[in-house]
Amino acid sequence: MLNADHVSRMFGNVPVLTDVSLSFQTGEITALLGPNGSGKSTLFRVMAGVLEPSSGCVHWDVSKSVASAVASMIDGWEPPRWATARRLLDLQSEVPFGFDRSYAEKLLCSQEIPLTKRYGALSKGQRRWVCASLTLATRASCLLLDEPADGLDPRARKKLYDAIRDVVNERECAAVVATHILPDIGRVADAMAILQRGRLVMHESLERLREELCEVEMARGCPLPENLVPHVLGHTPRACGDAYVVRHCGGLDEVREALSSKDRVQRLTIDALYQSLTESEMVLAA
């Protein structure tokens, strides 16, 4: 388990992270989302312990037998280019908290990456895969992966996210994946956290969001029923009638009961939610 507790970070006078509190649970994958420059990578560096927060702190779970808690794949850091993939496996085997070498080899093999090739001679996607494999095969209680699928083709991306799910299910660790490509991660993730301008604007279970969110399209000229008004998160006028994003703890069934048969209600995809969140800055009240 990993906790960030009121973490803030300034670069000079510029606040990059402001009062971010987050906790990541064992057995869960959290998608850390946010537009470019929202502070994802800075938060990662702070959580991985390579950057000091200006205020606040990070707690790692060191109660387990592993000596250290976090394995990270930080954007911008790369292994030495002269080292072959095999040499990188040797080096990683030295980490104090254990490394599942055969699993790493299996991952490399699945993408047909020869162990004898130098890291610098690999393609961009292959390098990404090597870094991800090294991190995934490390027996840490929390895995931090910053844009792990960057540069991977769609098949490799799916494989990588499947591998992250497998590792988290089998090894009972936590994983945090920063990305701005939602559909891939939404498939396997349990929760999503959204950063905007350095602030945490949302941290929620995806299953709960899927349960509670829906889009209501009223028949033309009809107002939204009174009892749904407090649950509205966003509103878009449309030619065929007004559309509302509604969050209701009773889910789709209760919303449907409040509507007439001429109104349309459907589930809102996480993708659509994320888009409307980032476009309109609507607030997700529970």
């Binding site: 996210y161 799910r165 498939r187 299953e207 899927r210 995809t269």
Partner: protein, 147 residues
């Protein structure tokens, strides 16, 4: 050696909670007897690994199927499709609910386009003929009542 069970598929883009997707598909498989009474469902671990979802999502789906009276958990052995009579009313109910939902969605879309029930019914009958599904004219006796 247990047989290969009919596959489940998760659509992460549908917006439907994943545990509900699992429940809906298993309901249909049980109602249509693709899963036979007494058959063991995949273990929580296995299904989580096959579908690439959190095992807790599978637990939630299995619990719901338990509440619906379609499966039973035997401690230490797994989750089994309930036998014949105990299961039958619940399974028929689940089948009925799926069919009702389909019909409701069809009618809702039609209504929005300004069609009334008569027009929808006429189109329904024409489509049945085009697909060569014999339509019994006496509306009181449902076809295939046994299945």
């Amino acid at each position: 050696m247990p047989r290969d069970l009919p596959p489940l598929s998760i659509d992460p883009c549908s917006g439907e909670p994943i545990w509900r997707q699992i429940v809906e598909q298993l309901k249909v498989q049980i109602a249509s007897r693709e899963l036979t009474p007494g058959e063991r469902l995949p273990s929580i671990r296995n299904l989580g690994s096959t579908l690439k979802v959190n095992p807790r999502t599978v637990v939630r789906a299995y619990e719901e199927l338990g509440h619906l009276g379609l499966v039973v958990t035997r401690q230490g052995q797994g989750v089994f499709v309930l036998n014949g009579e105990a299961r039958e009313p619940a399974s028929q109910h689940a089948r009925r609910a799926v069919l009702e939902d389909l019909t409701r969605r069809m009618l809702a879309e039609g209504t929005r386009m300004g069609a009334d029930a008569d027009e929808m019914l006429a189109i329904f009958e024409e489509t049945c003929q085009a697909m060569q599904l014999p339509l019994s004219k006496s509306e009181t006796t449902p076809r295939n009542a046994s299945c």
